[in-house]
């Protein structure tokens, strides 16, 4: 009984929704703190910090584990959500001819599946725009820095993971990030993928000098991003507190504080996320 209860009962399905959902909330916080570096650090320093961060996020084994957990959570949250939605539809085969649900429940609470689906589409697009390009685009440029010589000519340098710079013309790139000395044919370091410039160019900054074409539709990207964050906000508005209710974490002494925290969280986090592309777009 209890074995099947954990796996298949209606309540257990909801726990998994809550647990994955709350984990994704944690992920959001982490993701947000990382992303905010893009607007809090400027210039070369900003680029370096962000790309180093991106490198760390893709290479640290613990983070890797967390990222797999995140992918799993997203998938599980989505699949479980779809199963629940279909079950719920089946629970009322004949609909009411006339219904006034707005009289008894908040709008976000009734549209979680739609909001969630929109977020899933956003995640797919978001990942193909950044994560996908970064991982799979053969031409993903590496972090470069323009060194201005005293004669005002430029020299393009690659930043390596051991903190040194290598002139571009001296190296060849192997396996996406390995910097190979052309003459010695020897690996002399590892470059950073330039996620920073990818992001900045995506939301409107011209980064042609870094190897990124200008994005004609940057305004659209910003609008869609902001819209998606609004959707996320609605999803969290109900989802955050709902998760605690489902896990049975409810106590009259703390409920109102928790509820307030949930509301603040659900507004603040998406708002902060949305501020990033807007800032990039505006500070051209």
């Amino acid at each position: 009984m209890s074995k099947s209860a954990i796996l298949s009962s209606s309540i257990a399905k909801k726990w998994w929704m809550s647990l994955t959902g709350l984990f994704l909330c944690l992920f959001l916080v982490g993701h947000l703190l990382g992303n905010l570096q893009i607007i809090f650090f400027s210039g070369d320093e900003g680029q370096r910090v962000f790309n180093e961060y991106a490198y760390f996020m893709t290479h640290n084994p613990l983070i890797k584990l967390l990222s797999y957990l995140t992918y799993f959570s997203i998938l599980f949250h989505a699949v479980d959500g779809i199963i629940l939605t279909f079950q719920n539809k089946r629970a009322r085969p004949i609909k009411y001819a006339y219904s006034k649900p707005q009289k008894n429940s908040s709008t976000p609470s009734r549209y979680m599946a739609i909001l969630g689906s929109a977020i899933l589409i956003f995640i797919i697009m978001h990942m193909s725009n950044f994560w996908g390009v970064m991982h799979f685009d053969k031409n993903m440029p590496l972090h470069t820095k323009n060194l201005v010589r005293p004669d005002s000519s430029y020299q393009k340098l690659y930043l390596t993971t051991n903190g040194t710079f290598l002139p571009v013309e001296q190296v060849e790139i192997n396996n996406k990030t390995e910097l190979i000395d052309k003459e010695l044919n020897l690996k002399i370091g590892e470059g950073y993928k330039d996620l920073h410039s990818l992001t900045v160019s995506f939301f409107g900054h011209n980064k042609t000098n870094k190897g990124f074409p200008p994005n004609k539709y940057a305004y659209l990207a910003v609008i869609l991003y902001v819209f998606s964050m609004a959707v996320l906000s609605f999803h969290l508005w109900h989802g955050f507190n709902s998760a605690f209710q489902t896990l049975g974490i409810s106590h009259e002494k703390y409920n109102s504080a928790l509820s307030l925290f949930g509301k603040i969280f659900s507004v603040l986090v998406p708002l902060a996320f949305a501020s990033i592309p807007i800032t990039i777009f505006l500070t051209k």
Partner: protein, 250 residues
């Protein structure tokens, strides 16, 4: 007042139903909704039309038998009342009123507005009790003190009348509020703690079997509940279920 009624008519479980329109004059605002239905039926009988079948019994809001979905809400627009306590003063002259049965897979239609809520009984049978036989030698009632707060909360949960408005109002037709009210009542009282694990596991299992939807915490059930049963009960049941399913031997 004059009213236009759109009433769901369905001969029996198998046949298809549809909304029929009736008009009714001379409705007093002091009538209860069911008295208005009585007037409609009296009129239909006189016109040679079969009267509308609807469930009702005590007509004072406690038996839980009346069960209409009125203008998009179970038990109609008023709060904290059953259909029998809903009065026509909540409506205006010339209104069109939609009257439908409670709809859920777990509540098949019997006829017109009458539904079969036997699923609730079956859930209760699965564990909604304390296993104590009738005995002239039960321990004295005051031997085990119960904190007033717990007793009051148990009572609040126990005021559920089993009408099914929670299921009817829920967009998922979930029965969680009903089931959690019973689970809560017993889990709050020392007498009920002995069987707490078995009870919550069995009742939830039966609830799932009956084809009710899942709780997505919209809170509609609590708002529409004529006894205003608290959502805290659902949280408590979730907690009890978690505890039980992890630690139960079975």
């Amino acid at each position: 007042m004059k009213l236009k009624l759109k009433v769901w008519r369905q001969k029996n479980r198998k046949e298809k139903g549809k909304l029929e329109t009736y008009s009714l004059d001379n409705v007093s605002e002091h009538m209860s909704f069911l008295e208005m239905m009585d007037v409609l039926n009296e009129q239909l009988i006189n016109d040679g039309v079969e009267p509308v079948a609807f469930d009702h019994d005590c007509r004072e809001g406690i038996c839980g038998m009346c069960s209409m979905y009125i203008n998009g809400q179970p038990h109609g627009p008023d709060r904290g009342v059953t259909t029998c306590q809903l009065h026509m003063r909540k409506f205006n002259d010339g209104d069109t009123i939609y009257i439908e049965p409670f709809r859920a897979k777990g509540f098949p239609i019997v006829k017109d507005l009458v539904v079969d809520r036997g699923a609730f009984d079956r859930i209760q049978r699965a564990g909604g009790f304390i296993s104590v036989n009738t005995s002239g030698n039960t321990q004295d009632a005051n031997l085990t003190p119960v904190p007033k707060k717990d007793a009051d909360k148990a009572f609040d949960a126990a005021t559920c009348i089993g009408c099914g408005a929670c299921v009817a109002s829920c967009k998922n037709a979930s029965a969680m509020l009903f089931v959690s009210a019973k689970v809560s009542q017993y889990s709050l009282l020392p007498q009920g703690k002995v069987e707490a694990k078995r009870r919550v596991l069995n009742m939830v299992e039966q609830m799932d079997k009956e084809g009710f939807g899942n709780c997505t915490n919209t809170g509609a059930c609590h708002v529409e509940c004529p006894k205003e049963i608290s959502l805290e009960n659902i949280a408590r049941m979730n907690r009890e279920f978690l505890k039980a399913s992890i630690t139960s031997e079975k």
